[in-house]
Subunit: 180 residues, 2 copies
């Protein structure tokens, strides 16, 4: 961050009055530009006992498999966001189920939240995907998964057999994991 | 948003290539400035069957009671954020428990996530609080609570008797609720 998005003047790092940590603060109009973690919402969607995965057509992790997931948008709920991502990436309408996994991806400044879902009809290949496929649990390409958070979600979903056994929590840091 | 925080040029609303909704985009360097929902983390912290509330010393809702809660910061997990807010607002060290409520505050562009906690020792009055007090469930000042999301969390906590009965979800919109 170099400039104030409000007035266009320069910004610098300082601790605002009443705060306890450094922020980007405008040197002219004093606007504080907070930076906070972002939410990623994803879905493990099932049909006939198989799980819907997408092969990524974009970076990061181009060509690797993922559950449908992406940044939550303004104006939607967590659950609606997970359903929207499934529609966008896998062209699949789903009945959303329950939240079952939450992963703190600390160094990326993200929280990844996963829901279950049931694919209602067909599916297809969204703009951000190269392929979309239903995998039986034993056929999931574990060595070609894009993200550790999605791997955690898939493992817990399979352990739980898709049933509601509460929310599983996990914490990822780059020091411990080579990718997230 | 008026200016690009990267190069200082003007920004305008447009749909970036490959996207499907309007964003703030720089007219000079093409940087896309995404705006996404923020996470608020809070804690219903208990000691001897009583619940810790803070009377707010800041707007919004100055003078109203709230469970300790605030924006999640970069570098922390959801649970650590909830514990940090309890320390900052109520000067209380806690053992964090389980996540039990998640509220989509749609029109504010926020998701409020609540954990249980046990107060380990004493408590006090943080900089953003006027008072801090332990309330028996029957003494909670329901008519003087600051936020609907905190009200929902307190109700569910009391219904559950603090036990882990999964995560309760709720959706708030300004059209339905006068404050959130």
């Amino acid at each position: 961050m170099n400039f104030c998005s409000h007035c266009g003047a320069g910004v610098s790092r300082k601790i605002p009055r009443g705060d306890n940590r450094e922020r980007w603060v405008c040197e002219s109009c004093d606007t504080v530009h907070y930076q906070n973690p972002l939410l990623v919402v994803g879905c493990v969607a099932e049909q006939d006992g198989k799980i819907l995965l997408c092969k990524r057509a974009i970076e990061p992790r181009y060509g690797y498999w993922t559950v449908p997931a992406g940044f939550m948008e303004l104006g939607e709920s967590l659950a609606k966001g997970a359903a929207r991502e499934t529609l966008e990436e896998a062209c699949a309408e789903i009945d959303i189920g329950h939240m079952f996994a939450s992963v703190d991806v600390i160094d990326a400044g993200q929280v990844h939240v996963f829901f279950t879902g049931k694919v209602k009809g067909g599916y297809g290949v969204g703009e951000e995907s190269l392929e979309t496929e239903l995998f039986a649990p034993e056929d999931i390409p574990w060595d070609e998964l894009a993200f550790q958070s999605g791997r955690f979600a898939l493992q817990k979903y399979i352990d739980d057999k898709g049933l509601d056994k509460g929310v599983h929590f996990h914490e990822l840091r780059r020091a411990k994991e080579s990718n997230n």
